[in-house]
């Protein structure tokens, strides 16, 4: 098992967190939803694994490349 950081692909605001730590995720499952470019943009699991940590809260502003969650794969 290795931990990988799930990073934001663009600047925006955390709108909704749809997962909980400890949850099993498949590749491309949505972890949370960002609001950016006037759209609701999901943050997808880069590969299947277990969600180890969520590093942001709803309403937070995030920058491109910022770590949002940790996934154990």
């Amino acid at each position: 098992m290795a931990d990988i950081q799930v990073k934001s692909e663009l600047a925006g605001k955390v709108w909704k967190i749809e997962t909980k730590t400890g949850q099993a995720l498949a590749e491309e499952d949505a972890i949370m939803i960002l609001e950016s470019m006037k759209m609701e943009i999901p943050v997808l699991a880069p590969r299947s694994g277990t969600l180890k940590d969520i590093l942001v809260a709803e309403g937070d502003s995030v920058t491109e490349g910022q770590a949002l969650a940790v996934l154990s794969v």
């Binding site: 692909e9 006037k38 609701e40």
Partner: protein
């Protein structure tokens, strides 16, 4: 190295295959001579070239000294003019020669577990004094997801060979002929009826454009290229009514469909393939625009956007554009607005300089959260002339269609735009554009 000729799907091909059991398939003078000979025959007689790549690097001590490296520079190795398609399958450790050929190829397939890099871990660790992890150096994930230098990753050697055959099935044997038409699988016309269930009506909602493409093209015909790299742009070969096409689509599922610099690189590389081998291009736009921001500027987004549109204008294959839900600003132009043989807008399409909601912020300085009522009124005013019909009235769009008519419209366009006087063969103005980015 074993080099020779064979057939794939009853079409002749040249094959240059590394034999790792002989001195690690290291690069040598005679190997170079053999490669040049086979490549020359392939170019002159119109045969695709298949490289099965493994290579431990340059053969030492043969290549040591000024005579060794001097001899390596003799002859013409690197002037790819895309007379015929090249495809590389990296099936083991690949350093030096086989990596170079992969980087000059139109498609790079890696078998998972294979490594593709400039130099072997031995050479790399000696040169940098760092210990080298093979997968980090040039594993399939790194090359598929970070660099995009691997187009297709497969599980086993046999899958790689099947993928080579599948890729070549969309292309002509050489640039002087049109791509071959295939039989249309049964049931290809039915699935489009469900497209409204795939694409949400609200433009703020995302969806996976690959699911929409699946119901538009001939059943099972999508062949993704660089699927794991710059995922906001989808590039794929496919067929409609049996005719091969090259698809470029923004994917709202990733970054909301806002195209970035890597997406531009990926799209340009794909257009080079299509233009070189007479494959018509279809662009599907559902994008809020290019992804503006500090990161994009630092990574040369302006030059990449211009490279993209320059490449688009240079291509001479038939080009079509479909504006799905929205397409704004420069991205509208890059995704085929005014640059296509024909453009269709879905009746739901919204087209303008920018998203009206963004425009309200910029022009009036009003945020939705501050004054929702006034914001809605101003957004309505700014978005009033943005409809598909507004685009079609001055003939910027040649058709306004129901999304369920997309496949039928493309079938008709492909049957009309066949470049008959030249036998479907374009001018290949992109054929000498560098293969990689």
């Amino acid at each position: 190295m074993v080099a020779g000729f064979g057939e794939i799907d009853r079409r002749p091909v040249a094959v240059i295959a590394a034999d790792f059991t002989t001195l690690g398939a290291s690069s040598s003078r005679i190997m170079g001579k053999k490669t040049r000979h086979v490549k020359k025959i392939a170019a002159e007689h119109g045969l695709p070239v298949v490289f099965l790549g493994e290579c431990s690097g340059g053969r030492i001590p043969d290549l040591m000294g000024s005579d060794g490296i001097g001899a390596a520079g003799e002859g013409s190795f690197y002037n790819r003019a895309r007379e015929t398609p090249w495809v590389s399958a990296i099936l083991g450790q690949s350093y030096g020669g086989s990596t170079w050929y992969a980087m000059m190829s139109d498609l790079v397939i890696m078998r998972k577990g294979a490594i593709m890099a400039v130099a072997s871990p031995n050479v790399t660790s000696v040169a940098t004094t760092e210990s080298v992890d093979l997968e980090e150096l040039g594993g399939w994930r790194m090359q598929s997801e970070v660099t995009g230098q691997c187009d297709v990753a497969v599980d086993a050697d046999l899958d790689a060979l099947k993928s080579v055959a599948r890729f070549l099935s969309y292309l002509p044997s050489h640039a002087g002929e049109a791509p071959p038409r295939a039989a249309v699988p049964a049931g290809s016309d039915e699935a489009i009826a469900n497209i409204l269930d795939i694409v949400p009506e609200s433009r703020a909602k995302v969806y996976d454009v690959r699911k929409a493409l699946e119901v538009i093209v001939d059943k099972g015909s999508l062949y993704y290229i660089k699927e794991r790299f710059a995922k906001v742009a989808v590039t794929a070969l496919a067929r409609i009514d049996g005719w091969p096409i090259g698809i470029i689509a923004s994917n709202p599922l990733v970054k909301g469909g806002a195209l970035d610099g890597d997406a531009c690189d990926k799209i340009i590389s794909f257009m080079v393939l299509c233009d070189s081998f007479n494959v018509p291009i279809v662009q599907f736009a559902d994008t809020p625009g290019f992804l503006v921001g500090f990161e994009g500027e630092r990574r040369k987004l302006p030059s990449k956007i211009m490279n993209y549109i320059q490449a688009l204008e240079m291509t001479t294959v038939p080009k079509f554009a479909v504006v799905m839900r929205k397409s704004y600003g420069q991205a509208y132009l890059n995704m085929g607005g005014g640059k296509s043989d024909a453009l269709a807008a879905w009746y739901t399409a919204d087209v303008g300089f920018m998203d009206p909601a963004v425009g309200v912020n910029v022009v009036h300085g009003v945020k939705q959260s501050d004054d929702p009522k006034r914001f809605a009124q101003l957004a309505d005013e700014l978005g009033r002339a943005n409809s598909a019909y507004d685009l079609a009235a001055p003939y910027f769009a040649q058709a306004v269609i129901d999304p369920r008519e997309t496949r039928g419209w493309l079938k008709r366009m492909l049957s009309i735009h066949r470049r008959r006087p030249s036998g479907g063969v374009g001018k290949h103005r992109m054929a000498t554009w560098p293969t990689k980015f």
